[in-house]
Symmetry: C2
Subunit: 350 residues, 2 copies
């Protein structure tokens, strides 16, 4: 165990009282310059560090937030966490990371199973109360309405990458509608008018909004919308492959996949059929995961601003913690724009 020094000991070494040491440590003015110097000297020498527990117990404030993630293994989570922590650092807050490991434990079987989620979340909430954190940042694994929090749980909170049911917490999400819109507009500008879509699962928020944006762009440019060209996948490579088969048969010249993994599945199919990607058929993904740069040809995709999400969410949370009256932010919903990454999987139609 490491030797630990306390205010009392510092006080003894300097022949002053503990309160004087405390006053110095907390930068209060009611202490003689000569004493201050002497004590500061000793503090430096001994490498004294205040006991954080005692401090927060006495002050009734922990200057600590907890970051609850649905799964640290989800690709989107680490960058959000990293950026949120960076902001907390800057603001003098500690962040304790709590990992629910939802995917790790149940893959996707927890999506519609509130009991599973609560069996993990409730103990964590207990723990937050026990640690007396000042606030909670909840980072969802994928965007949806989130409403697992008991009414009795009254800590300031912010939800990142998810939407608080009933506007209970401020939420930070991406602007999926704009995302779908931007992709459609780009494809139309490249001359495509028969565009297939491999969407995510049907009831998913990302899916709905991106589709809305997609349709909007079509309307704007007077390109007819054919619902038969919209297929629903499961976000995985295999379903990209599967749905590509159908869409190619329908004669599409471009395919918009709602994530990069399904786009890779489309690549698989096109290659198998001897079609040249980005020439015979154009492909666009979503996410800008690392793999998108490694596909051949490199995939044009729409980047999710993960770090911005994390920073913004932490910002909202700390604002809320420090500025108690500002209850008005409850229903706030921040939508961050995605950024198109133009690469080699889309060809201009002659």
């Amino acid at each position: 165990m490491c030797t630990v020094i306390t205010v009392k000991e510092i006080a003894q070494m300097c022949n002053v009282s503990p309160s004087t040491v405390s006053n110095i440590l907390n930068g209060r003015p009611n202490v003689g310059e000569e004493t201050r110097q002497r004590v500061l000297e000793v503090i430096k020498e001994t490498g004294y560090q205040p006991n954080y527990f005692a401090q927060s117990m006495r002050k009734q404030s922990s200057k600590m937030i907890s970051i609850v993630v649905e799964d640290l293994g989800e690709f989107s989570t680490p960058p959000i966490v990293e950026a949120a922590m960076a902001y907390c650092d800057d603001m003098g807050y500690r962040a304790i990371l709590m990992n629910m490991r939802l995917y790790d434990k149940w893959q996707k079987d927890w999506y519609d199973d509130e009991d599973k989620v609560k069996s993990v979340l409730l103990p964590l909430i207990q723990e937050m109360q026990s640690i007396r954190v000042d606030g909670m940042l909840y980072i969802a694994g994928h965007c949806r309405h989130i409403d697992y929090f008991p009414k009795e749980f009254k800590l300031p909170g912010v939800i990142a990458y998810g939407i608080s049911e009933g506007g209970r917490y401020p939420s930070v999400v991406i602007d999926d509608e704009k995302g779908g819109y931007d992709i459609a507009r780009y494809l139309i500008e490249q001359g495509h008018t028969c565009i297939g879509v491999i969407a995510g699962s049907d009831n998913n928020l990302h899916t709905r909004s991106r589709l809305d944006g997609f349709c909007k762009a079509l309307q704007e440019r007077k390109v007819p919308y054919d619902p038969r060209l919209v297929r629903y996948g499961d976000w995985k490579r295999g379903s990209g492959y599967q749905e590509a088969a159908y869409l190619v048969e329908q004669g599409v010249t471009a395919i918009f996949c709602m994530n990069d993994s399904m786009a890779a599945g489309v690549y698989d199919y096109l290659r198998e059929k001897g079609l040249t990607i980005g020439q015979d058929i154009s492909v666009v993904g979503y996410d800008n995961k690392e793999l998108s740069k490694y596909l051949y040809p490199a995939l044009t995709t729409n980047e999710i601003p993960l770090r911005v999400i994390g920073q913004k969410a932490a910002e909202l949370l700390i604002d809320h913690i420090e500025d108690k009256e500002q209850e008005a932010t409850g229903g706030m919903l921040v939508k961050l724009p995605c950024e198109m990454r133009y690469r080699d999987s889309v060809d201009k139609l002659k």
Copy 2:
């Protein structure tokens, strides 16, 4: 702020003393069955949670470890963290994650700049002392000798994915020598005798050990070793591309890349030259990053058992914390084997 209930209040509600409540909470036998029932009832009703700070202050033990990561954004880190946290959970420990964000702040400029690292680590060490964690799990971003810890810092510690200089802390790393050996052996078994290597940076531990293993396999199988066929890259895609050009000119039939990104660079080059990967030239990577499955053809590579590393490291740490006398583990070095993932980038030579 959330309403918080204390032992004192519970005690009042039950007409008993705080000590009795405490005794019940801690499962001590010296309390009447009737009282116990009554108090437990109230505890359940009120949703009482002990104040963690007060508890650890009194008990002089925090049951909390800190996981210090060099950068959460490094691909290898989240799985290690996730597995380590899972183990801590199981053992009733809290883990607080501290993110140094070294790559985030300085890319690779901190490798040989101990001052930069210390400027981040020293405050963290202060913080660990302040929080009074029971131990530290240090997760390096890449394997090397690590010796940044001041002598005064005496907490139990374990290093994952790095080696403690002077055997101060038990360390968990991968068996790079076996990794290099397995790859060479596999390629030789497939009939390759003129094998190029795109290594990592020259002075890197992974590089040295994998090369050792590689040579050992060559010797064993009486395949001549030609040092000119070993090129040093910088772990990035571009250097894979660059060195591939040289190696192909030397007439190699297979290339062993010391990570998947450089292998992707090799793909880039071979494709550009119209060579068929896995047929004209075989390629093997290292890491089994997600992208390796998405390359075409899918890359044969050697998987780093990241989760096992995390679990093993947490295990060693908690053992050490709970079993104080066991100082003997100081110099322990655990080497975990990588596992070959056979895919489509290697062809059997006729």
